[in-house]
Amino acid sequence: MAGILAVVIIGGALITLLNTEPPADNWRAEVQQQVEGDREALAEDPEAVFLQERLTLNNYRLDNDIAPINDATQWGFVDFVSILTMFVTLFTVIAATSSVAGEFTNGTIKLLLIRPVKRWMILLSKLIVSLFYAAGLLLLLFVTAYLAGGLFFGFQSPQLTTLYIDNGQVVEQSMAASIWAGYGLAMVNLVMMTIFAFMIAAIFRNSSIAIGLTIFLMFAGTNVVVFLSQYDWAKYILFANTDLRMYFGTGEPLIDGMTLGFSIVILAIYFAVFAFLTFFVFSKRDVAA
């Protein structure tokens, strides 16, 4: 798993290197050029929001002397790679599921549960290990991206500023905050998906069914929620709340009126219910495997 992740990152770095123009020595000239182009385009189509925003941002850059961050720079790359946390989730779900359901499928559960240890302790230790595994993979993702970015694009100080537009206003954000949102908040999603995977595994007790079902629900859930976001009640669905990045930086809450506090409460409730079900089912059900 770790190997696959490293290969994907380094491959990503190479592709980025080949496809992105390296940061220009004179970024002002480039930005200026883009500003002029955008102005002409806007003259023809004044409604183009994307162009308007880019124009606003670029003017802000020129006025405040803030260079754009190119993907083909170390921190630009690290930020870009944070979309790979998706793989971390995938690997964690697989590992978590097989650590529970696999014991039933392989029959090893019998020799495991006849030890002088309470069942809930065995399950808790598996949960803790899975979370450490998730955190480890996340750290590995970050470190590999940092090193690959540094080696391919040159090491860079992290004291950079990114810009985004919020309600028509330009907002400055430090690179560190953006990276934190990309990687740190992924851990929240990882914790939720791990307990979700545990629950499915404890109920179905079959690795392939449990892995398939968890991954299916995870992807289907994320998409269905977008589809349902026109309804207000959709905000109570787990998957509407797992991506907390919507409350930070350029993110937009999925449904108007959702707040960070709301999502945290919803996530806590789901976690408690999932954890209760998982531990209850695992401790009480007969082992006939």
Binding site: N106, G107, T108, K110, L111, L112, L113, I114, R115, P116, V117, K118, K284, D286, V287, A288
Partner: protein, 308 residues
Amino acid sequence: MNENPIVKIEGLTKTLGRKNVVDDITVDIYGGEVFGFLGPNGAGKTTTIRMMLGLMKASKGDVQINGFSVKKQFVQAMEHVGGIVENPEMYGYMSGYQNLVHYARMNGITTKGRIDQVLDVVGMRESSGQKVRRYSLGMRQRLGLAQALLHKPKLLILDEPTNGLDPAGIREMRRHLRYLAEEEGMAVFVSSHLLSEMELMCDRIGIIQTGKLIDVQNVHDFVGGIEEKTLHLTVDPIREAQKILKVHFPKQTMITKGKTIQLQTAPDKVPELITELAGAGINIYEASLNGGTLEDKFLKVTGGEGVV
């Protein structure tokens, strides 16, 4: 045999669906004995063992191991029992040794060298470095036994331990179990559907059919006893022998086949008969008693089909 039972099974019942798969089983098992749990396929042996090990919850009744209730004091009860349920599945991606390290930790074993000790007992020292995935069934059974012995339990539970073993392996398993009961004073609980095998390794045998414990017998009652069994005698000359036997069993019609005479008698009388025949100068080539009460019962249970 010790005085106090190590295992007390009291009214143990498991209801699955509408059926009592295990039905009100009560029996005590003592230290120093090998107890055989004999029954045809589907009789409920494995289900009983699962309840004894806490893998399944008893619908009614309970099992006490060394005084601890499996239902209420699971952890303490499990400290005194080691076992295998059906096949000894372990982690294939780890070596035999690593598997034992894992189980030793879970049993709170800190004494160094205990793992090597049990590996020596089952003769697996050499192959313990190999991945379990590559083990043969016989090697897995041995490692399974090693795992069950790690924490020096008072009770050893084995579900069809000779499954998949060759004749030499079966003999060795038998020797192990006899040794553990006789020398280490363990209570050994073994299930099987083969009477012949059980007779050789057990002190007592309980017969289970459709969940009910029908009968518990001492194996040594087979020798001696007053219940009638069938005696086969291969003798020469056969007429002289028949005359002598007629005196003892005036009312019986003896069945004669070639040089073999078949008759019903109490085992107690057999030595006397043989002495007399020998005294009369009759050559005895073979004398065998069978159709013991246990076998009769077991045959009835299994419908006399080939499982015995």
